[in-house]
Amino acid sequence: MAAKDMREPIESGCPDPWQYMHPTMRKNFGQWKYHEHPRPGVLRHVAYSGDEIWTVKAGTQRILDVFTLRKLCDIGDEFADGFVHFTLRSNIEYMVTEEARVQPLINALEEAGFVVGGTQNTVAMISHTQGWLHCDIPGTDASGVVKSMMDELIDDFRNATMPNRVHITTSCCQINCGGQGDIAINIQHTKPPKINHDLVANVCERPSVVARCPVAAIRPAMVNGKPSLEVDERKCICCGACYPPCPPMQINDAEHSKLAIWVGGNHSNARGKPTFQKLVAAGIPNNPPRWPEATAIVKRILKAYKEGARDWERVNEWIERIGWPRFFEEVELPFTKYHIDTWRGARASFNSSSYIRF
C-alpha cells in the first residue's frame, strides 16, 4: 500500500458506553436500591425511583459467528429494547423493564439454543483462552475443553444449587490467561523444551530469552557450530516461558504436556481477602476432543463442595474450614510431594502450628 493511501487513525480510545446503554440504566445511573434473584439466570434490580430492570443472562459458545451474533441481536430487538450487556465471563445479558417480558425472552433464548442461567450460586460460564484456534503457544485447546465441560455442567449453570458461585477457568499454557478460579484447569508441561538448534540464532533474541527464564536455567551455547541456547534440565521447571520469544524451544508435547487442576482462586474480598488458586491434581491426559478425565475430576470436586460446603462458602473457604487433608480425602485425589510449594514465599504455606484435624 502506498503511503498516500494510508489513513491516519483516529485515536478515540475506549468508547463512551452512555450511547449504547439501556435508557432505564441511564436514567437511574448510580441510583439503584437493591436486587433480587427471581430465578436462576434472572436478576431484578430496583431503583430508588421505583424503576425496575429485569436482566436475563445467557451462556453462548463465546466464539460467535456473525449468524449467531445477529440471532442474539434479533432476540434483543424483538424482546429486549435493543440493548445488551456482556459479562466478564462472556455471557450476554438482556434488560427489560417489566416482569411480563421476562418469560418470552427466556423462551426465545432457549429456543435458539442459548442457555439461561449463570447467576447467583451457579457454576458460571468457564472463562477461557484461545487454544489451538488462535494462540501461538497453546498446549491444548480452549473452546473445545469448555464446550465439553459445559455440556457436563449445564445443569449447574441453569440451577443455583451450589453453596456459592463457582468460577471455573481454563488455560492452554502455564501463563494462565484464563485466570484464577474456584477451579482452574491449566496445561502443566512436564518435560523441558526440545530445542531446534538450527533455528535459534535466526529466530530468537538470545539475551531476552535467557532473561525470561524464572530459574536461570538457560544459557547461550554453540551447538553444531551455530550460536544457540541450552537448558540446564536439572534446573528447568518446564514452565514454557522461553517458548513464546523463542519458538524453536518447543515446550508443547502431545504426550508430556498434561493438564493440572487448581482450586481456591477467589477474587472477591467478601468474608476474606482475595486468594490465589492452589494445585490439587496433575498428570491428567490432554485428551481431545472431549477431555473426559479432566471433566471427571472437576465434577468430583464440585460434588464434594456442593455436599460439604455451607451457604456462602466459596471453594477456598470450604477447604479452609475442613482442612486440606480432608479435601484430598473427599475428592479422592492423591497427595504428593509435588503439592509442597518450592517457590519464594513457600514457607508461608507450611503448617507452623499444632492445628491438625483428626
Binding site: 453462548t60 463465546r62 460467535l64 459479562t87 462472556s90 485447546d141 501463563i175 455451607r310
Partner: protein, 420 residues
C-alpha cells in the same frame, strides 16, 4: 464454486451435547455464508483445528502486523501448515476496545458484524481475557481495511504487547446498588489518557487498568491488574433496620447468626435482642458479605470513593502477585479528583518505564526494589493500610527513624488541621 470440505471427525464430536457449539457456528460460516471467501477461510480453519486435535499441537506463529500509525492492537497469526490450509494461512485477530462496562446496542453490534464479514472471517468474541472485542481471522491487508472502516464510526484498537492494555470495568452504577464510584468515568479517564501508550508499545511489559465498583471486585482487578481501582466508602454503612427485621423473620435467627454475624471477618456485627443489627463501623473492612446477603437492608455509606492497589499479575516471571494498597481512600467526584488519579497513573508508569527491566511487570519491579523505594520514587508517603502487618525481619538500618517519626506526627497534625 463448491469447496472441498475438510473431514473433521474429532471436531464433529463437539457438535453433540446441550451447550452451544462453536464448531457448529464455524461450520455455518463454511456452509451457509454467501461469500465464498468466508466459506473457504473457515473450511481451512476447521481443517487446521482438526489437525491440531489429531496431533495435539498448535500451528500458529506470531509475526509483525500493524495498521498505519500504530504499533500494536493486532495479534498476528501465520499458519505453520499454510500449505495444507492456504485460505486461513493468515488469520490475525484485531483487538478492539469495548465501550466501558461492555454496553452495546444491537444496532451497533449489527454495524460491526456487517463490517467484519466484509473484511474478515465472520468470527468474533465478546470479549477476550484482557477485555477486548476480538475480531478473529483476517489476512494482512484486511486488518487495515476493517480497522479504517470501524475507526470511522467510533472504534479504536486496544493494546497488545508491552504497552498500556485495554481496560475493564464492571456494570457498576448502571445496574448495581453496590456501586461506590462512576466506574465508566474512571475507566475512560485512565485508559484514554494513555492512547499513545496503548497504540505504540514502548513500556517494559503490559500495564492493565481494571475498575470494580465495590470490594466484591467483579472485574478481578486486585489479582489481574497493575492498577486496580475499587469503589469503597469511609463513613458508616446504611442499615434499614425494618428490612433487617423482615429478613430475620423470614430466615430465622440462627440463619442470620450463622450466615451474616459470624461470617464478618472483623467481628463487627451483632444481632440485638430485638432482631435489629448492631454494626461497629470502626472495625468494618467493607468486605461486602453482609451487604451481599441482605441487599435490601444494607447499603454502602454516602462518603464514597476508591481504593487503589498496584501490581497485581499472574505467575510469569516471579510468581503470582496481588495488587498492594497504594491509596487507601480517594474521593472521585470532581474533575480535579479524576485528574489527580490520572496523574498518579502517569507518575507510576513513568517511574516503571524508567526503572523496570525488560518484560518486568510493575508489581515485579516493586518486589525487586522494595515497596519503600517505590513509594520514594513516586512521592507517596508510607501508610499502615498498605500492609497486612509491619516488618518481621530485624535486618534493617534505622538511621532515619527519628526524622521519619517526626514527619509522621507532622503529617497527622496537618491532616487534622485540614479536616478542621
Amino acid at each position: 464454486m463448491a469447496i472441498e470440505k475438510h473431514h473433521t471427525p474429532m471436531l464433529d464430536q463437539l457438535e453433540t451435547g446441550p451447550w452451544p457449539s462453536f464448531i457448529s457456528g464455524i461450520k455455518r460460516l463454511r456452509d451457509e455464508h454467501p461469500e465464498e471467501r468466508i466459506n473457504s477461510m473457515t473450511n481451512d480453519l476447521l481443517g487446521q483445528l482438526e489437525h491440531s486435535y489429531e496431533t495435539r499441537k498448535g500451528y500458529w506463529k506470531g509475526g509483525t502486523v500493524s495498521v498505519f500509525g500504530y504499533g500494536g492492537g493486532i495479534i498476528p497469526r501465520f499458519s505453520e501448515v499454510g500449505a495444507a490450509f492456504p485460505k486461513s494461512k493468515e488469520f490475525h485477530t484485531l483487538r478492539v476496545q469495548p465501550p466501558a462496562g461492555n454496553h452495546y446496542s444491537t444496532k451497533m453490534l449489527r454495524q460491526l458484524a456487517d463490517s467484519w464479514e466484509k473484511h474478515g472471517s465472520g468470527l468474533v468474541t465478546f470479549h477476550g481475557q484482557t477485555g477486548n472485542i476480538m475480531f478473529i481471522g483476517a489476512d494482512t491487508p484486511a486488518t487495515q481495511h476493517f480497522f479504517d472502516e470501524i475507526n470511522e464510526y467510533g472504534w479504536d484498537l486496544g493494546g497488545a504487547g508491552p504497552c498500556v492494555r485495554t481496560a475493564m470495568s464492571c456494570v457498576g452504577a448502571a445496574r448495581c446498588e453496590m456501586s461506590c464510584t462512576n466506574e465508566l468515568k474512571a475507566h475512560r479517564a485512565l485508559v484514554n489518557n494513555f492512547v499513545d501508550d496503548v497504540h505504540r508499545p514502548a513500556l517494559p511489559y503490559k500495564f492493565k487498568f481494571k475498575v470494580s465498583g465495590c470490594p466484591n471486585d467483579c472485574q478481578n482487578a486486585i489479582e489481574r491488574s497493575d492498577f486496580a481501582v475499587l469503589g469503597t466508602w469511609r463513613d458508616d454503612m446504611k442499615v434499614d433496620q425494618d428490612e433487617v427485621k423482615k429478613y430475620v423473620k423470614t430466615k430465622g435467627r440462627q440463619y442470620i447468626i450463622d450466615n451474616v454475624i459470624t461470617r464478618c471477618p472483623t467481628n463487627a456485627l451483632s444481632l440485638n435482642d430485638d432482631d435489629s443489627l448492631a454494626v461497629n463501623n470502626r472495625d468494618c473492612v467493607r468486605c461486602m458479605h453482609c451487604l451481599n446477603v441482605m441487599p435490601k437492608a444494607l447499603h454502602p455509606g454516602d462518603d464514597k470513593g476508591v481504593t487503589i492497589l498496584i501490581g497485581g499479575k499472574r505467575t510469569l516471571k516471579i510468581g503470582d502477585l496481588m495488587g498492594t494498597v497504594l491509596v487507601p481512600f480517594k474521593k472521585l467526584e470532581t474533575e480535579e479528583d479524576y485528574e489527580s488519579m490520572v496523574e498518579l497513573a502517569e507518575t507510576i508508569i513513568d517511574f516503571w518505564a524508567e526503572n523496570g527491566l525488560e518484560h518486568e511487570r510493575c508489581g515485579e519491579m516493586i518486589e525487586r526494589i522494595g515497596l519503600a523505594n517505590f513509594l520514594d520514587g513516586i512521592g507517596i508517603e508510607a501508610d499502615p493500610n498498605m500492609l497486612a502487618h509491619p516488618r518481621q525481619s530485624s535486618y534493617i538500618r534505622l538511621d532515619g527513624w527519628d526524622d521519619a517519626a517526626e514527619q509522621w506526627f507532622e503529617r497527622q497534625s496537618e491532616q487534622r488541621a485540614a479536616a478542621g
